[in-house]
């Protein structure tokens, strides 16, 4: 009995469309929908705002009511609008930081991994860089962020740079570890024998096979970026007031909460927790490897 060649091809070498359909079919949507909703809120938040989140719109410390759904804070700013607006800012910061940290991680991890075992100045520099990465990673993230912001001032840009510096070592170590594993593979020797240059070998073979762990880890980096952003905002080293940001809102609202005015802190805290959960669970599901 013979099997038609086309069906064998389709079964063992599915088309891109088929792979996408298969991926979507196996996706557990319950885990992904919150992330999609969050993304939609972040993208459309300017349309959803009831008031300007940075302008005094009502009486101060007003409890939630029909006009101010989440109440107002001690400055008279609308908490609903600020909580929504902070979604965009916090997610944007986290996205930029994740991309930056992962990019830096891939490049630096690749360079260190490929050159660490070399003799001479190149090897020294690579090994020194590896130890420097270990040192940066050992220092608490909030502390490193505070120092960087203290030097360069408080701004959204500085915050992103600080977070990228703080979180890149995680990705660097992941990529470096994978590079050390991949570069000992036999096919690389075959490629060298075939006349491939070292640079070409690195870019065509080592890099694609080394970054998967870092890419999978993006969800963690994203969540941690949100948390550290909020932590820095909580200690007053985040964005300039009254820019809506969950951590800063939590810091301002904490004092109110101790005397019963729960709303300035509760809603940003809830939003922060929901976001972390949605991001972690959603990204994990999206990046989960599936086998047919």
């Amino acid at each position: 009995m013979t099997v038609p060649a086309t069906s064998l091809t389709a079964e063992f070498f599915p088309s891109r469309t088929a792979r996408v359909v298969q991926y979507l079919r196996h996706l557990r949507w319950a885990k992904v929908v919150p992330l999609l909703v969050l993304t939609l809120v972040a993208l459309t938040s300017p349309l959803l705002l009831r008031f300007d989140p940075e302008v005094v719109v009502g009486p101060s410390s007003q409890a939630p009511d029909g006009t101010y759904w989440f109440g107002t804070d001690s400055s008279g700013l609308d908490i609903f609008s600020r909580t929504l607006a902070a979604t965009r800012l916090n997610l944007t910061i986290a996205l930029v930081v994740t991309v930056a940290a992962t990019t830096i991680g891939c490049i630096v991890g690749l360079v260190i991994g490929m050159n660490e075992s070399r003799r001479g100045p190149v090897g020294w520099v690579s090994r020194g860089a590896a130890r420097l990465v270990d040192l940066v990673e050992a220092i608490p993230a909030v502390l490193t962020g505070l120092v960087i912001i203290a030097f360069f001032g408080v701004s959204t840009g500085t915050l992103m740079i600080a977070l990228s510096v703080v979180l890149a070592p995680i990705q660097i170590r992941l990529v470096r570890t994978e590079v050390l594993r991949v570069r000992s593979e036999a096919y690389l020797d075959a490629a060298r024998s075939g006349g491939q240059s070292e640079l070409g070998l690195t870019l065509r073979h080592v890099l694609p096979n080394s970054i998967s762990s870092a890419v999978e880890n993006c969800s963690v980096i994203f969540a941690v970026a949100i948390i550290v952003t909020a932590a820095l905002g909580f200690v007053g080293a985040g964005v300039a007031p009254p820019t809506p940001e969950w951590g800063a809102m939590l810091a301002r609202g904490a004092s109110d909460a101790t005397v019963g005015r729960w709303w300035p802190a509760a809603f940003p805290a809830f939003a922060l927790g929901l976001t972390i959960a949605a991001v972690s669970v959603g990204f994990n599901e999206l990046l989960r490897r599936r086998r047919a």
Binding site: V56, S75, A223, A240, P242, R261
Partner: protein
């Protein structure tokens, strides 16, 4: 190797019984803790004890080591005493409060004093049989040495004693063991002299004790006293100091004005203002200081607490740096004065517990003239007109600094940012830790600086007029503003003789009008006291240093069993 997910702890298997046990234990501990917190740490064996919640420990125990801050001032008030003080009188605005009569004085360490016919020499007769906590008798030597120390240390006393005291070495004379005299340059410095020596900067020290701890590196024992305390003649002695936690005081039975009614004071550190209010509500403390305005307002309606509506000298100020753009332009400063929503700030930030301000001087100043002084109003159209006529393009962009340690100032900044837009101003807000803010203030590295502070010798016109704008003293001149006409008017007022006379008042008014025209600073609001007492604690008296005077405070008899 992947790192752990932030939510990986959710994967842990938890036994239901364990959860139940843990919950019950938490509830039990919480109940126990609440019971302990709400029980009075007071009134054991008939001892009257009050617990006060403060924001932090004093930065140091010696005024001359520049501790500053509420807690430093209150430590000085508790353990120190000066030659004279202002007596307390019933406050006209609040039947439940007293305030200082700033225009009268009564003796503390001085029994009496007289003034020479030319009004330049004040001779003080010291009380006898006054003994320090260390057992050393109080004499004229203590007075002379105290001022020698103030002028030979890092103390702020020299700068805040101007213009009356410039050189104690020549102005302060020991006549005998119990007599000293102060001589001022002109009669017009007489009232300012009394105004300044009656305040905490006039504290007299136990010189015998401090000299015994002097070293070549610390010839006036400033550092020793900064760590050890109990070197004054005050109403209380520091009994214990638990760094970061609390300070305990016991009444000085030998205090010159008599033993205070409260036997023991516990100052407990509670950094968060909301938590201080919360602890007062739960009964864990008897007094909470520096409470948020919103919390003071909410407790004002509760008969369990006492809040106070006295007029104060606690101001919210917006200083403009006059040497850097954009506020180096007088028109921009004048416009900015119309861009601040004063009423909104008083109602929303201070919950109605503040008053608008006119001019720089005490409204109760005898013979005070407010001619030509305008109440400050939010008038965006006027602001835009001024800017337009001056050829200044709008919006005028600037950064406003506020301290992270004073939450209401951040709210004030947000109000200014929101309402300033209509007046042609675009504001960036920068909130800084207190130390960083002080550094930026000292280096003049700001455009607008928000402060909530006080003028301690508020009643003295030369003091109040020169406090923020001293001539040839860039370190203390916050706005870097010096105007010859201003100084001419102040000097003329001093030369008029009696600072409180109608003749002097003409010149004070002139100085205020020059200041108003140039606008180096905007007085945003006069803030009501931010202290709250439990209703059974009596004796609040507003002081110009804004600290509590525990000589006057007592717990009502029915609650001290």
């Amino acid at each position: 190797m992947p790192t752990r997910h932030p939510l990986s702890f959710l994967d842990a298997q938890v036994d239901r019984r364990t959860v139940l046990r843990g919950s019950l234990l938490a509830i039990a501990l919480g109940t126990f803790g609440t019971a302990c917190a709400s029980s009075k740490a007071s009134d054991q064996n008939g001892t009257r004890t009050l617990v006060e919640a403060i924001a932090s420990m004093p930065g140091g125990l010696a005024f001359d080591a520049k501790p500053g801050g509420y807690e430093g001032f209150e430590f000085t008030q508790l353990t120190g005493a000066g030659l004279i003080r202002n007596p307390y009188i019933q406050d006209p605005d609040d039947p439940g409060a007293m305030r200082q009569d700033l225009y009268r004085h009564e003796g503390v360490l001085a029994e009496s004093w007289e003034v020479s016919p030319d009004g330049r020499t004040y001779t003080f007769h010291l009380r006898r049989d006054v003994v320090s906590p260390a057992g050393n008798p109080f004499t004229a030597d203590d007075v002379v040495w105290s001022y020698e120390r103030k002028w030979n240390s890092t103390s702020i006393a020299p700068s805040i004693s101007l213009p009356a005291i410039t050189d104690p070495a020549t102005q302060l004379t020991r006549i005998d063991d119990y007599t000293v005299s102060w001589t001022v340059a002109e009669a017009g410095h007489g009232f300012p002299l009394l105004a300044v020596i009656s305040k905490i900067s006039g504290e007299i020290y136990d010189s015998t004790l401090l000299k015994s701890h002097a070293t070549p590196d610390d010839p006036y024992a400033v550092q020793w006293s900064n760590l050890n305390g109990n070197f004054g003649f005050g109403p209380y002695l520091m009994e214990s100091y638990e760094d970061g936690q609390q300070i305990t005081y016991v009444a000085n039975e030998k205090f010159v004005l008599g033993k205070p009614p409260v036997d023991r004071i516990v100052q407990r550190v509670v950094p968060d203002a909301g938590s201080r209010a919360s602890m007062l509500k739960t009964g864990a403390v008897d007094i909470a200081v520096q409470v948020l305005p919103a919390d003071v307002a909410s407790m004002a309606a509760d008969p369990q607490f006492s809040t106070f509506d006295t007029q104060t000298n606690n101001f919210t100020w917006a200083y403009m740096q006059t040497q850097t753009p954009p506020f180096d332009n007088k028109a921009v400063r004048q416009a900015f004065a119309h861009a601040i929503p004063y009423g909104q700030i008083i109602e929303q930030v201070y919950q109605g517990r503040a008053k608008p301000v006119v001019g720089l001087l005490d409204p109760n100043l005898p013979n005070r003239s407010t001619e030509g002084l305008e109440p400050q109003t939010y008038d965006p159209d006027r602001s835009l007109q001024i800017l337009r006529e001056a050829g200044v393009s709008t919006p005028v962009k600037f950064t406003i600094l506020a301290s992270s340690a004073v939450p209401d100032l951040q709210d004030v900044a947000v109000q200014i940012q929101s309402f300033g837009k209509a007046a042609g101003f675009e504001t960036q807000i920068e909130v800084l830790p207190a130390a960083t803010l002080a550094d930026r203030q000292g280096n003049k590295a700001f455009q607008v600086l928000l402060l909530r502070d006080m003028s301690v010798s508020f009643e003295s016109p030369p003091y109040s007029l020169l406090l923020s704008y001293p001539k040839n003293n860039p370190g203390r001149n916050i706005s870097s503003w010096e105007n010859p006409d201003y100084y001419t008017a102040v000097e003329a007022g001093i030369a008029a003789g009696d600072s409180l006379s109608p003749e002097a008042a003409v010149h004070w008014n002139q100085a205020e009008r020059v200041w108003q025209e140039d606008r180096p600073m905007v007085q945003i609001a006069n803030v009501a006291p931010l202290h709250v007492f439990k209703s059974d604690v009596t004796g609040f008296a507003h002081r110009t240093d804004n600290v509590l005077d525990f000589i006057e405070i007592d717990r009502s008899a029915s609650s001290s069993q």
